[in-house]
C-alpha cells in the first residue's frame, strides 16, 4: 500500500491516483471487481471518499460501474484507442489552426521553454512531470483558439480519455520524437503558418495514437 500524504489534494483524488496507477501497471486487471469494502481494507480508508474516487475513475474511463455488479476495471481495446484518437486528432488540429491568429510572441516563447523543460525531464526519466508538461504545452495553443466551446470540449475529452492517453509516456521511447515534433510545431507557429500548424499537430497526435495503439496490442498479447 502506498503512503497517502497529507496535503491539499482531496482524499478522494489521492485514492483515484493510487487506483489509476494500479490499473495502468496491471496490478488491477481488466474485469476485476472493485468493491468498496475490498478497497476500504486494501487502502485502509473509509468508504465515502472511495465512492467519490470511483465516480472520478468512471468519468475518466478507467472503470465501469454496473448496476448490482458495482465497479469493474475497464478493458481497453484497440478500437477504443482508435475511436478516441481520431476525434482528438481532429479537434486539436482544429484548435491549433484557429490559435495561429491569436498566439503572441510570448506564447511562442513559453512553448519553447516548456519543450526545453521536457527535454531535461526526459533525461531524468520523470514520467509524471512529462505528462504534466506535455498537457501544458498543448493547452497553450488550445486555450488560444478563441473558441470557448472547443476548449471546454477538448478539456472534457482529455479528462475522459486519461485511461488511454496515460500510456503515452510510460516508456521513454517516444519522448525524443515528441520533443522533435513539438519543435516543428513551434517553428510553424513562429511563421504563423496556419495550414502547416494544422498538418503538424494532426501528425503529432496521430503518431501518439500509433504508439499507444502498439502498446495496447502488446499488452493484449501478453
Amino acid at each position: 500500500m502506498r503512503d497517502i500524504n497529507i496535503d491539499n489534494t482531496p482524499l478522494s483524488e489521492k485514492i483515484a491516483e493510487t487506483l489509476r496507477d494500479y490499473i495502468m501497471r496491471g496490478s488491477l486487471r481488466p474485469g476485476e471487481r472493485l468493491t468498496e469494502p475490498k478497497l476500504s481494507s486494501m487502502l485502509g480508508i473509509s468508504r465515502t471518499p472511495i465512492r467519490e474516487a470511483l465516480r472520478l475513475l468512471e468519468n475518466e474511463g478507467f472503470i465501469d460501474i454496473f448496476p448490482r455488479r458495482g465497479a469493474v476495471v475497464s478493458d481497453i481495446t484497440a478500437k477504443d484507442v482508435d475511436e478516441i484518437f481520431v476525434i482528438k486528432t481532429k479537434l486539436e488540429s482544429l484548435a491549433a489552426k484557429l490559435s495561429v491568429a491569436f498566439l503572441t510572441d510570448l506564447d511562442i516563447k513559453r512553448l519553447s521553454e516548456l519543450n526545453d523543460k521536457m527535454g531535461r525531464y526526459a533525461e531524468s526519466k520523470n514520467v509524471v512531470s512529462l505528462i504534466k508538461l506535455n498537457a501544458e504545452f498543448h493547452n497553450i495553443f488550445i486555450d488560444k483558439s478563441n473558441n470557448s466551446r472547443l476548449i471546454k470540449f477538448i478539456e472534457s475529452l482529455n479528462k475522459q480519455f486519461k485511461r488511454v492517453t496515460a500510456y503515452s509516456f510510460t516508456e521513454l521511447g517516444r519522448i525524443k520524437k515528441v520533443l522533435e515534433e513539438h519543435q516543428q510545431i513551434i517553428e510553424a507557429f513562429a511563421k504563423r503558418d496556419a495550414d502547416m500548424v494544422e498538418i503538424l499537430v494532426d501528425r503529432h497526435v496521430h503518431n501518439g495514437w500509433n504508439f499507444i495503439r502498439s502498446r495496447i496490442e502488446q499488452k493484449i498479447s501478453n
Binding site: 465516480r55 468519468n59 478516441i84 481520431v86 476525434i87 479537434l91 472547443l150
Partner: protein, 223 residues
C-alpha cells in the same frame, strides 16, 4: 424509495435527471444565468442529491450549465458567438463521421439516405411545410451517416453536442426556407458516398453544415 416518473425506466437515474433538467432549460423553465441549487432540485424532482450532482456534471460537459465561482451551477447563456463556436465543432466532427462512414457504407445504406432525402423534399414541394417534420427528416439524414461511422464515442459526442441546438429550436423555423438548398447539398453528400470518396464527403458535409449556419445566422441578425 419514492415512486415517481424517474423510476420506471432502464436508463441510469442520473441520465434521466439530466434529460429532465435539460428539457426544462430548453423550455425556459430555468432561465439564462439562473442558479441550479442541488437541494432545491432534489426537492423539485423528488430525488436525492447524488444523482442530481452527477446529472449536473453531465450537463456541464454538454455545455448547458457552467460552474461559476461563489455561485455554483448556473444555466449557461447561449450567445451568437457560442452558436458560432458550436457549429465549428459540429461541422468538423460530422465531417469526420462521414469520412469514417465511407469505410462502412453499403449500397443499401445509400438507398436509405436517398429515400430519407426524397421524403424530406416531398414534404415541402409547393410551400407550407411542418417545421417538426423538416427537423425530423434532416436530423434523420445526418444521424444515419453519423451512425455509419461505427465510432461509438464519436456518435455519443455528437449526440451530446447536438442537444445544444435544441435550445434555439424556435429560430430553426426559418430554416424551412432553405429546403431546396439543403436537399441539393444532401445529394452532393450522397454522391460522395456513392463514389466512396472520403475527402469529398467530408468537404460536402462541412460545407452543408456551414451553409446552414450562415443562413440561420443572417436570419437571426436580421431580426
Amino acid at each position: 424509495m419514492v415512486a415517481n416518473s424517474f423510476t420506471l425506466d432502464s436508463k441510469p437515474l442520473r441520465e434521466r435527471i439530466a434529460d429532465r433538467i435539460r428539457s426544462d432549460i430548453v423550455k425556459g423553465i430555468f432561465g439564462n444565468g439562473e442558479r441550479l441549487i442541488e437541494p432545491k432540485l432534489a426537492e423539485i424532482y423528488g430525488i436525492s442529491r447524488t444523482p442530481i450532482r452527477e446529472a449536473l456534471r453531465q450537463l456541464e460537459s454538454e455545455g448547458f450549465i457552467e460552474i461559476v465561482p461563489r455561485k455554483g451551477a448556473v444555466v449557461k447563456e447561449l450567445t451568437l458567438s457560442d452558436i458560432d463556436n458550436l457549429y465549428a465543432i459540429k461541422a468538423n466532427l460530422e465531417g469526420l463521421a462521414a469520412r469514417q462512414a465511407v469505410e462502412n457504407i453499403t449500397d443499401r445504406d445509400i438507398e436509405k439516405l436517398i429515400s430519407v432525402n426524397e421524403k424530406f423534399i416531398s414534404l415541402f414541394k409547393g410551400g407550407d411545410g411542418v417545421v417538426e417534420e423538416y427537423l425530423k427528416y434532416n436530423i434523420s439524414f445526418h444521424n444515419y451517416f453519423i451512425k455509419m461511422s461505427n465510432n461509438v464515442k464519436l456518435v455519443e459526442i455528437l449526440e451530446g453536442l447536438n442537444k445544444n441546438f435544441q435550445r434555439f429550436r424556435s429560430v430553426l423555423v426559418s430554416k424551412v426556407d432553405r429546403v431546396e438548398e439543403a436537399y441539393l447539398e444532401h445529394n452532393k453528400i450522397i454522391e460522395a458516398f456513392r463514389k466512396r470518396n472520403a475527402e469529398y464527403v467530408e468537404k460536402a458535409v462541412r460545407y452543408h453544415i456551414e451553409s446552414g449556419w450562415n443562413y440561420l445566422r443572417s436570419k437571426i441578425q436580421g431580426v
